[in-house]
Amino acid sequence: MVAYILKRVAGSIAILLLIMVVTFLLMNAIPGSPFLTEKSTPEQIALAEAKYGLDKPLYVQLWNYIKNYCVGDLGTSLKMQEGTPVKDIIFHQGKFALSIKLGACALVIAVLIGIPLGCIAAYYRGSWIDGLLRVLTTVGVAVPTFVLAALLLVVFSVNLNWFPTLSGSLPDAKSYVLPVISLSFYYTCYIAKLMRTSMLDAIHQDYIRTAKAKGVKTHILVLKHALRNSLIPVITYLGPVLAGIITGSFVVESTFSIPGLGKYFVQCVLSRDYPVIMATTVVLSALVIFMMLIVDITYKLVDPRITLTAKEE
């Protein structure tokens, strides 16, 4: 187990390096410069680029990034107030915390509602309950987040005035409701669909019949035998979702005017704030990789047949 985790961590570092290189190259492949505005003259641009080392060859720039990251220096922003450290922007100004808070709520909702919905649909397969849930979840997966978010905003904030239109920094419980619903709806529906399929698969297995032959009651049959055996696909899906959902959604954060990381990240790409793009990508990637590791370890807990080994077979 320890050997397995160590091997995974080593692999993760290699992946992160690769991500840095690719991000850096892509970043530079986009035309434009962070200092390009209508007013600036070529001389001014050249001066600014020299100041931040952007005139040096690409490999030197890349090497500087990697060197600095190794000692935990994420660089300074090119666009925010002169010389604001990127670390402060991401971690200290609460952007990251805001996105995590929002995402964690959405995730909990998606799991707590999605899994039971899937079980119910599978249990009542073929009935009107199943039909209704199928329509609902298909719509949920098909409707884009921005449509749903805008719709919720118009109906519940503008017309009914139940919830604030601007969620801002999520000061109270009310401000959470609409963004969390918008963010979690897709995932809830997707998890419900996944759960239904794998639950149906499990219900038709022989060991369910075995349990029935033993005299196990129906609800225990579903909860104890079928549920445990059908969770694997959902857990697999949760890994990337976990990372994606808590690192913030640009759409939801923009619609509800939440100053989170997702919104900020997109702004940085548009304004070519290289150090911030780089740092955000690396932090998010590290998070995704970490979540994947957690998911793989969870497999082992859920399914004893899965063995985690450090050796390739």
Binding site: Q205, D206, Y207, R209, T210, A211, K212, A213, K214, G215, V216, H225, R228, N229, V302, D303, P304, R305
Partner: protein
Amino acid sequence: MSDERKKLVEVESLRKYFTVKGNKLFEKKYVQAVESVSLFIYQGETLGLVGESGCGKTTLGRTIIRLYEPTSGRIVYDGTPIFDSEQKIRLNMLKYRRKMQIIFQDPSASLDPRMTVGEIVGEALDIHHLTQNKNERRDRICSLLSEVGLNTEHANRFPHEFSGGQQQRIGIARALAVDPEFIVCDEPISALDVSIQSQIVNMLEDLQREKGLTYLFIAHDVSVVRHISDRIGVMYLGSLVELAESYELCNHPIHPYTQTLLSAVPLPDPEKSRARQRILLEGDIPSPMNPPSGCRFHTRCPYATERCKAETPVFREYSPGHYAACHLLEQGGSDR
């Protein structure tokens, strides 16, 4: 002679239809998996059930112990009707789950992969409150495991850590946990290696002798069924076509389908094998969704007449203990 023996399980006109979606919207079709099967099983005997794949053997076995809810018919266990579609009797099965058990074909699929062997065996004990305390429970699990030839330390392992034969032993220990009287053995050996098959068959026979068990032994391998069974029933397309004492059935089959089936059993002696005339059937087995009219076997029967197409033959006793469903027999025209 046989009438003095106690009938443990009696089944009358048992039907099991499965609903499937038709081609048209909202159209429902039925798979007639088991069609009007009547049989009885004496206490302490082994009734073998043979037939080709998809003929409804497994469905019949599962329906008798009500793992599937019968569509219609009557099931009597030890004198008590546990299901009767006409009198609307549907007894709660919990009490009878202690008496009727099943061993499945695929040992690895029939054991919950998330539970240890001890949990799998112990769950049945818990449901029926068969042990008073933890120590007794543990002792019971250990004795069950050793009864089927497993080690007691195997209780803490998971099913996937065992070989197929061992998994089937776990399945048997699990079925024995509740001290049943009647066990449906649903092709218990067909997923196993030949070398393991005989071990399991012998074990089942030993257990039967020790505990006075009654078996419904389902298989598609006639040789195995002949070895283990006291009486044998032959199924074709959801219906029972012939039922008789093992020796009688194997040596004097009266239904054309049984004759065909037996002629396909390999003989160990190549000389005899070459000399034997094999009856080959034409065509495929018809779909149970749309079974042939009259006698279900008439589309492939070499002796079929007009009457076979129109009229369903009755399953009746032709000589003591020898039942069959065929029009040709009534006319006395079968080449026995």
